[in-house]
């Protein structure tokens, strides 16, 4: 009733929507909705948020650095939840990977010669996987990340408006 136009079935929007809806049904199937206590809502919110992130990352596959980093983070988190020991291992491997890639980019990371290191670092913290990117890649990834975030917001926002 809101969108008279039909979506391209292979577009990012449609991929994300189908995945997210699937995750949503799974979440609601897991727990009965009868309890609306704050903890319940909060837990559900966390799960929904993770589902949204995961759906987005999976829709983008591994084509982007940030999606790869996000998928990595999600997977390591799930591993850690299953097995606390493996969490340490995966944490170490993650650090090793990050360090390796950051060594490759170190020459261009800290001193870009353009003079805005603080903002770049802040951006790196915002974009997943940004710590290992040089400024050039960071800007690319930011652009794509912004595009995906706006897609998410577009899809979520009609909820409140009915």
């Amino acid at each position: 009733m809101n969108n008279p136009h039909h979506l391209n079935p292979t577009s990012l929007k449609s991929r994300f929507t189908t995945r997210f809806l699937r995750a949503l049904t799974k979440i609601r199937a897991q727990k009965p909705i009868s309890s609306s206590s704050p903890t319940e809502i909060f837990r559900r919110y966390r799960r929904i948020k993770v589902a949204a992130d995961k759906s987005m990352a999976y829709s983008v596959r591994s084509r982007r650095i940030w999606s790869r980093a996000m998928l990595w983070k999600l997977r390591s988190r799930s591993y850690r939840r299953q097995d606390p020991c493996s969490g340490r291992r995966s944490g170490k491997t993650n650090q090793a990977i990050m360090k390796k890639s950051s060594n490759e980019n170190t020459t261009t990371r800290r001193e870009d010669g353009v003079g805005f290191v603080e903002e770049a670092d802040e951006l790196r913290q915002l974009v997943p996987g940004g710590e290992t990117m040089n400024l050039c890649n960071l800007l690319d990834e930011t652009a794509h990340y912004i595009k995906c975030l706006t897609t998410q917001v577009q899809l979520f926002s009609p909820i409140g408006k009915g």
């Binding site: 969108n3 706006t150 909820i159």
Partner: protein, 358 residues
């Protein structure tokens, strides 16, 4: 003497054409300041050089018609311009880019600024250039002139002005290496050239980001733009969090079949959730580990339920309206201020934010 020298180089380009082509040349100048670079013969009289710099703006549209080097008047011998400019394909060289101020990386073989005394060096440079064009195989090659003929740059101010408005580098026809023109006073070693290439790329990407982020046009300077981008990304992330919180609160026992669900009906399904009316008064929020804004959000949602909403969706809608107001009063207000400069766009939450501002 000069004529013979020049004729040797371009046999097909008679000298008398120069005078006639100058006015034509000027008409092309609106498109790009690179023009003078193609016509070193025109610099034979150094005083005439300044004419080329202050070009009329109306010449722009002409230029945009073709991507090739139309800087040379049409009646010029093609051989002439090709021999000079074969290395430079102005693929990205359109009128719009001219207005933007770029760094001065021109894939240009010809020295743009020579006085009359340097004609010989000019031709020597041309010969060098043509030879170099065949022989060099480095990735990035700085101008031979830059290294050896630094002294022969003329009317520096003019050249600097013109070069400042020059467009970005063009690709060589031979994909092996990129030719780069160094600005006066700039180093020409490979490091600084690579550095400049990087900065060019970065500024290009910043321009793309500028299009994505609303309200970036008002900010000038890279640092300010980066701040805007950071704020925008933060706000987007917060919006997603807030909306997913809304979904969590709205969730009810309504089942829907994903496979049969057309995407456009997704909002309709969610809007049917009557769960909003079931929101009980939440006694305490200490169990929540929320950041301040989320706390405010939940607080407001609670406050809304105390005064019972008319319908589920209306309740949530009104709650969502008041939430940005509350959020404004929180510590994030300084970061949210720039949002008011964003244009109203159809995205639902932006409308909500705007409503919260009024």
């Amino acid at each position: 003497m000069d004529v013979t020298v020049l004729d040797r180089q371009q046999a097909t380009y008679p000298l008398e054409l120069f005078a006639s082509s100058v006015p034509l040349f000027q008409s092309y100048l609106g498109s790009g300041p690179i023009v003078e670079l193609k016509r070193p013969e025109a610099y034979l009289g150094g005083d005439g050089f300044h004419e080329f710099v202050y070009f009329p703006v109306g010449g722009g549209p002409e230029f945009g018609d073709s991507e090739k080097l139309n800087l040379v008047p049409p009646d010029a011998a093609p051989g002439y311009c090709i021999s000079r400019t074969s290395s430079c394909q102005m693929t990205a060289f359109h009128a719009a880019s001219m207005k933007e101020e770029r760094e001065d990386m021109i894939l240009e073989k010809m020295e743009s600024t020579t006085g009359s005394g340097s004609r010989e060096s000019f031709t020597k440079r041309k010969a060098e250039v043509v030879a170099d064009h065949k022989s060099k195989d480095k990735r990035i090659k700085s101008e031979v002139e830059g290294e050896s003929e630094v002294k022969t740059k003329c009317s520096t101010q003019v050249s600097r002005n013109s070069s400042k408005e020059n467009s970005k580098a063009c690709e060589v026809q031979k994909p092996d290496y990129i030719h780069v023109r160094a600005r006066r006073g700039q180093a020409t070693d490979s490091h600084s050239l690579a550095e400049r290439a990087r900065r060019e790329k970065i500024s290009k990407k910043m321009k793309c980001l500028q299009d994505l982020v609303p309200g970036c046009n008002k900010v000038t300077g890279k640092a300010g733009m980066l701040d805007e981008i950071i704020n925008y990304v933060q706000s987007l992330q917060r919006q997603v969090e807030f909306l997913s919180m809304k979904i969590a609160a709205l969730n009810s026992s309504v089942e829907f079949n994903v496979e049969n669900l057309p995407i456009k009906e997704f909002p309709a399904y969610v809007a049917n959730f009557p769960a909003a009316a079931k929101l009980p008064a939440m006694p305490n929020l200490t169990c929540f580990q929320l950041n301040p804004m989320q706390k405010e959000a939940v607080n407001c949602m609670l406050n809304e339920t105390i005064h019972p909403p008319l319908t589920a969706t209306e309740g949530i809608a009104s709650a969502s309206v008041s939430i940005p107001e509350q959020a404004l009063s929180s510590s994030t207000i300084t970061q949210l201020q720039p949002f008011s400069t964003w244009n109203m766009d159809p995205q639902g939450l932006y409308n909500v934010y705007d409503m919260g501002f009024h």
